[in-house]
Symmetry: C2
Subunit: 319 residues, 2 copies
C-alpha cells in the first residue's frame, strides 16, 4: 500500500533560513559553532548562507567569511543560495562553496511578481538561461523547485494542473538542453499542503516522470509539516529540505511573543523516519544537541518537539 | 484505501491538562474566560477540571467553583476527571458536572505501580468495581482507556498483544456486566506512537471489536502528534482528545526555557480535518482566538502552529 524509501536524505537549511529571517544579526562565532555541530550529525548537505545583496539582507553579508571559517567534514556538502547572476558569481569565487545549481519556478503569478518583479512565464524562460549558465561553468542542475505547490498567500489556491505544467516544462527543458532530469522538488513555500494533497501531487508527478527523483521542501506553518513528510514518505519521496529546531519561523508573525513556524523541523522529521524504520545516516542525539544550540543562539523557545524531550532509543536500550 | 470519517468529535482537555501541569495557579477569572470562549467554538465536550486531592494538586482545588461560575452553552458537556471514589462523589455533588464515566487500564506494570501503587492486574479488577459503582449511580461507561498504548518511559516498549489483551478484557467485562461497549480509547500517554504503529493498532483493534467506536488520546511529545491523528483518521477513528494551543506541555522539561509538548493541539488537528474535508462542527477562527487567550494566560509561547498564522479560508474567500 505504501512505498516507503529505505533511506532518506535530509538537506539542512537552518543556518540560512534561520538567521536570514531574523532582524538581529547573531555573532558569526555562534553560527560557525552551530554549523560545525551540524557537520558532526551525519547530515551530508548544509546550506551555510546566501550570496544576496548585503543591503537588503545584512544578516547574510558575512556568508563568504562563514565559508572560510567553518570546519569542514569530509563528505559533507556546504552549499549556499543565490538569486541572480551576481550572487552566483560570488558563490563561484568564494572559499570552497559546494555549488548545487537550482532552477526555480513560480506558478503563482502574484508571488512571481512580488518576489522577482516579473511574470510566471518570464521566470520560466529565465530558467533556460540558468541551465546554459550552469553548463558554461561546467555544472549540471541538481534540483528544480516548483514553489507554492499547494497554494499561495498572495494568489490563493493553485490548481494541481498548473503545478504539473511547470514540471512538464522542466522535463521538456532538460530534453531540449540535453541535461539529466534534476531532483524534482515540490515546494510548499507557504504551508498550504495537507497529507492527502501531498499524496495526490506526488502521485501525479510520478506518473509524469516515473524515473525522476522527487524531493520536498516543506513548511510547517499550520502544523501539518510532519504529517506531510509522512504522506510524502509513503509515496517514496526520499529527499527533504528542513531546518534544525524548526529554525526559520517568523519571529514577528502572530500574536506578540509567539513565533510562526517555518521550515519543517529536521530532527522531528528524522525521528519520524527512524521510528518508521527508514535510515537517514543521522545521529539523532547529535542533531538534538545542535537544535538545542540553535535555541541558545536565538534565545527564545524554538518550535521543535523532540529536541525538548529526546528520542526513544534510550528507553529501548536501557530496558 | 483509507476510511476517513465524515465527522470527527474533539474533546477538549486543555483547561484541565493545561493548568494542572503548571506549578503556578492562574486566576480563576482567566480560566473561566478561556472555558467560556471554548464554549462558543462548537466544541461539545470540555473537561473543566479535576476532582483530585487539593493537597497534591492545588491547581485543581477550585474545580467546584469553576463549575459554578462558567457560562454554560446548551449542548456542551462540561466534564471533570476523578481518580478515586472520593473524587467521583465530589463530581456527583458538585454543581452540574456532566458525568462521563471512564475506565482506565494500565498495561505498563511500572506505570500502574507508580501512578496507582498497584499492579496492572489489580487495576483491571478495580475497573469492574467502577462499572458497578457507575451502574449503582445510574450511569453507563462512556469510554475505556488503555494507557501507554505504544510504549512507556518507565517500562519501555509494550507489545501490541499486551494492549489488545486489555481491550479484550474490556469487551469481556462489558459482556459479563451486561453493559454496552464504551468508546475504546487508544491512549498514547507518553508520546511513543508513530503513524504506522497507530495504523497497526487501530487495525488490530477493529478486528477485535468491529462494531465499537474507537477514539484516541494523543500526546505530541516528539512531534508526531498530527501525523498520528492523520493516520488514525485514515483508519476511521472519529474521536480525539486534545488541548487548545497544545496546553499541557511540561514547562520544565527539556532545556531551561523551552517547553516539552503535551496533548496534541486541538486547533491544529481541527485544521487538518477541515483541510481533509472532514467536518468537526468547530469554528476554527473562534478556536484560534481561544488558543491565543490560553497563550496570554500562560504568558509564554505555546506550541500550537495554526494559532500563530491562522487557517486558509481567508485566502480562499478573498481571492
Amino acid at each position: 500500500m505504501s512505498d516507503f524509501p529505505k533511506f532518506v536524505e535530509f538537506r539542512e537549511e537552518g543556518p540560512r533560513e534561520g538567521f536570514q529571517i531574523e532582524k538581529k544579526i547573531y555573532p558569526i562565532e555562534e553560527r560557525i559553532e552551530l554549523i560545525d555541530m551540524l557537520s558532526e550529525t551525519g547530515l551530508k548537505r548544509i546550506q551555510v548562507g546566501s550570496f544576496v545583496s548585503p543591503k537588503y539582507v545584512p544578516q547574510m553579508a558575512d556568508t563568504g567569511e562563514l565559508f572560510q571559517r567553518i570546519k569542514r567534514k569530509p563528505g559533507v556538502n556546504y552549499t549556499s543560495l543565490w538569486l541572480n547572476d551576481k550572487g552566483f558569481r560570488k558563490a563561484l569565487t568564494a572559499h570552497e562553496v559546494d555549488i548545487d545549481p537550482r532552477l526555480l519556478f513560480y506558478p503563482s503569478e502574484a508571488f512571481a511578481q512580488s518576489n522577482n518583479n516579473c511574470s510566471s512565464a518570464e521566470m520560466r524562460e529565465k530558467q533556460r538561461d540558468w541551465v546554459r549558465l550552469y553548463k558554461e561553468e561546467g555544472y549540471t542542475v541538481d534540483a528544480a523547485y516548483v514553489m507554492t505547490a499547494f497554494g499561495c498567500n498572495l494568489e490563493g489556491p493553485i490548481p494541481q494542473e498548473r503545478i504539473l505544467d511547470d514540471f512538464r516544462f522542466i522535463l521538456q527543458l532538460c530534453e531540449e538542453e540535453n541535461i539529466p532530469v534534476p531532483i524534482l522538488v515540490v515546494a510548499d513555500t507557504m504551508g498550504w499542503g495537507n497529507p492527502e494533497a501531498v499524496k495526490r501531487m506526488i502521485g501525479a508527478l510520478r506518473e509524469l516522470a516515473p524515473e525522476a527523483r522527487i524531493g520536498m521542501h516543506i513548511h510547517d506553518t499550520r502544523g501539518l509539516g510532519i504529517a506531510n513528510v509522512y504522506a510524502a514518505l509513503s509515496m517514496g519521496v526520499d529527499m527533504f529540505e528542513s531546518s534544525v529546531a524548526g529554525l526559520g519561523g517568523c519571529p514577528f508573525a502572530g500574536h506578540g511573543h509567539a513565533r510562526a513556524a517555518g521550515n519543517v523541523c529536521t530532527e522531528d522529521a528524522v525521528f519520524l523516519c527512524h521510528e518508521l524504520g527508514i535510515e537517514t545516516g543521522i545521529d539523532l542525539d547529535k542533531l538534538i544537541a545542535a537544535a538545542v544550540k540553535a535555541e541558545e543562539i536565538i534565545g527564545v523557545p524554538l518550535m521543535g518537539r523532540v529536541m525538548h524531550t529526546g528520542g526513544l532509543d534510550k528507553y529501548r536500550k536501557s530496558l
